[in-house]
Symmetry: D2
């Protein structure tokens, strides 16, 4: 059960992730973090197919991201996400992007607050009880 | 009226448009072309707000794109789109991306076929008569 | 001179900015903010062409972004950036994304800390004196 | 050895891949195709780390892409790339994007011509002999 509160994905840096500075562009990490976050949320019960039908999605309401070191083309990155604070209407996830082979090599630290929202109106909702319970 | 069959936009190349090769990434041009195409379509009567309500969109069914020369950071690009062939269910647009200051400097040639589709089912529809007439 | 410490850009929300939730995707705003930031930096003396030759770029080292309200397809957005804190090695910019027609309608608040870095090594440098002076 | 002339990757459709139409945005497939193509090229001897040092890259000079069916959020896609024509200065790759579970469900057909180019000047070069030989 503990397992459902964290998730790890891997990505290799592609050309589209880099810019003329020769390193990964700052926005590209947020795409990688979204993939990790979405699969983490799926484990918590936010099923991708179900969300689409009900139009109820966990949406990012705040992002804080620190760029520690630049990664570059061909680097293999591990993106690790953990749920670390939960209230009735929102939760925080923490993400770390490291080198797959050298976990002490940290590229990115990121925190995101997610709320449960009915789209496209943007109406906030309570975290469903069967999901909220998993955080206790 | 002729004016509604073509449209021109301008973009300056930003960091997110480039990659580690030091030039504009191939995918970035398609974003620029989409902006030009959407504003061209709006002039033809495909209003962005209206489309959202009716869930009827012009969608790309084929793209052909030739990369002639590489543009780079800070370049100012002109994207020119023209509607050039129309049938009852689809139309072709042709795009050229050039240097704003030197129109003979061609970076990109692109053709796209668009169909009118009801989303998310992907059901093809006829081009609305009031739009079809403008092509005559 | 005051004028060089702020900059405003406008963008209309395109299909590529939105997602299946029916509103602008959270990452798309960061691309819009980058355009504003880059043009603001250019006014401060960080010329896009010059940067490429010297391989010295202002890079984002931290982003904080709050998603206040969802914008959607066709919305016209004003992105306003202001430099608001400067030290010898970094500076903060603050961005607000609002509705062009209704400035009280705030979609996004964002702060970014920028450092001056030689790429691709990622070596931090002092803010050049002729730029630093403009902040006094 | 035959194995080096084709490559298959898998992707699950994320929010950032979709748009307000409720399906995958046309540009997102090109990012997926780039990942497949880059890993295919790596197998042919175009090592990502080596390319960066030598500034010699395989670059796309033409793309043809047909959008057959719309994929949507959560779909699991298989992207299969094959090298199918080789000359001294360029080669063609063919890509098919299908449903991982139902290979007969074809979303995308795409062909790309790649040339070997020294960046950022964009100077075309011959395909290196040790790579050219693998195509015979």
């Amino acid at each position: 059960m503990q397992k459902t509160l964290e998730y790890e994905t891997e990505e290799q840096v592609m050309f589209f992730d880099t810019d003329i500075g020769g390193v990964v562009h700052n926005i590209a990490y947020l795409r990688m973090i979204e993939t990790c976050r979405t699969l983490l949320a799926e484990q918590l019960g936010f099923n991708l197919k179900g969300m689409t039908e009900e139009k109820v999605f966990p949406v990012v309401v705040r992002t804080e991201i620190d760029y520690k070191k630049p990664a570059t083309l061909g680097d293999k990155l591990a993106i690790r996400g953990v749920v670390d604070e939960v209230s009735k209407t929102s939760f925080w996830c923490e993400f770390t992007v490291t080198d797959v082979q050298m976990p002490e090599r940290i590229f990115i630290k990121c925190r995101q607050r997610l709320a449960i929202v009915r789209m496209p109106e943007g109406r906030p909702m309570r975290i469903p009880p069967h999901i909220f319970e998993r955080f206790q």
